[in-house]
């Protein structure tokens, strides 16, 4: 719920910014506003590295507001085509360079999420007694290059509030259209500094138990492989599905909190497109 609130707050902030900037140019605030908003209903399945964290995504039906809005150089976007991450994350950014297929953005986005802040860490016995780990907001620079159906991306940034660690990501996506279906083949490699990995997967002295020794994590790398399919259902309606797997380096897997070798994610959603 907090993620939805954050996304709505971001949307409001974005629209206010657009309105204020348009006033300066003596135009209507909606001039130059472009993009899409989706209201989706669906079901998700997730098997996280730490047992118990997946409960939020797995329970019941998901009602999700996502979107991709642009006004001038400002934009707000949610990962509609991506899997392997959480569906509530969003990026707000400013595109300061665009030339043909190349673009540079400054973005603020969410890379990691733990339990929602209003829930105690007791979703599973393994999480019992753990201090809350908050979702991060990473301020980063992003470079994207699109060549035909290929999309390359490099981004790097730092979180200034939660873990204060650095994150860098290299990604590649290939669009494979087949008749009315769009298939995205996605891969990404994410580097996280020791501060990031330790914030989420480390065990602090006050969290130590008989079956949970203290653990201080080093920097780590995680890899994502995923497929997303989008199919038109009717005018303004589409169905999309994603499956993905996340693979982790030893600094994650060696944590006493982790008992699984990898993550799996699957989401199916019917969306109305505004």
């Amino acid at each position: 719920m907090q993620r939805v609130t954050a996304w709505l707050a971001g949307l409001c902030l974005f629209l206010c910014f657009a309105a204020a900037a348009a006033e300066e140019h003596n135009g209507h605030w909606s001039d130059g506003l472009d993009g899409t908003i989706y209201l989706g209903l669906g079901k998700g399945y997730q098997r996280t590295l730490v047992p118990g964290l997946e409960k939020e995504l797995d329970q019941g039906l998901l009602l999700v507001l996502t979107g991709d809005l642009r006004w001038g150089n400002f934009f707000i976007e949610t990962p509609i085509h991506r899997s392997g991450s959480y569906i509530y994350s969003a990026s707000i950014g400013y595109r300061f360079y665009q030339h043909q297929a190349h673009s540079w953005d400054f973005i603020a986005s969410n890379y990691n999420i733990w339990l929602p802040e209003n829930k105690p860490s007791s979703a599973s016995p393994q999480l019992d007694g753990l201090a809350t780990r908050y979702g991060d907001t990473v301020q980063s620079f992003r470079y994207q290059y699109q060549y035909r159906q290929h999309m390359f991306g490099v981004e790097a940034g730092i979180d200034l509030v939660r873990h204060r660690g650095a994150i860098a990501r290299l990604s590649y996506s290939y669009l494979l259209p087949w008749r009315n279906l769009d298939l995205y083949l996605n891969t990404a490699m994410t580097f996280e500094s020791a501060k990031v990995v330790d914030y989420y997967y480390g065990v602090r002295p006050e969290e130590v138990r008989a079956d949970r020794p203290q653990y201080s994590a080093d920097a780590g790398v995680k890899n994502h492989l995923g497929i997303t399919a989008i199919y038109p259902l009717a005018e303004n309606w589409q169905v999309d599905g994603s499956i993905g797997v996340n693979l982790f380096s030893h600094s994650y897997l060696d944590s006493p909190l982790v008992t699984r070798s990898h993550e799996q994610v699957a989401i199916v959603m019917v969306r109305y497109v505004f």
Binding site: D34, I80, S103, E155, S173, L175, T187, A188, P232, A234
Partner: protein, 130 residues
């Protein structure tokens, strides 16, 4: 001068509407009925080619020699048939007309509408990170 202009206008209107009137009159005389399913093809993005398997069914009150066409392309012809159906592949970015021809004259027609989920973007649409 006024009457001359009026006549010219009438002739012009006749020239514009004559073919469709002719088709309607021919169809009415021959009692040919044409249906296509589905009537709508949905693509993800406005302007993109939409693909759909279409079934066209027709029936008439008497045996006829007919040809089924999609726009200007003849898909199939029948001789002395009273009813028939034909399945074909539709691939177009905009709406298409399916026409039944009798002696090269249209006797019935149906439209396959093309709709979409996303309108064509006002600005250049960039991809999202995966």
């Amino acid at each position: 001068m006024y009457f001359k202009s009026q006549w010219l206008l009438c002739l012009l209107l006749l020239a514009v509407f004559a073919p469709s009137l002719e088709a309607d009159e021919a169809a009415a005389a021959l009692h040919v009925e044409l249906n296509v399913t589905p009537e709508t093809c949905i693509s993800l993005q406005q302007g993109r080619t939409c693909y759909s398997k279409i079934t066209a069914r027709w029936q008439s009150g008497q045996p006829l020699d007919l040809c089924l066409a999609l726009g200007a392309q003849i898909l199939r012809c029948w001789t002395q048939q009273q009813q028939a159906e034909h399945q074909f592949e539709f691939a177009a970015a905009s709406s298409g007309k399916v026409i039944l021809l009798h002696q090269e004259q249209p006797v019935a027609q149906a439209t396959i509408a093309v709709n979409w989920v996303h309108k064509a973007s006002k600005t250049k649409r960039h991809w999202r990170l995966f």
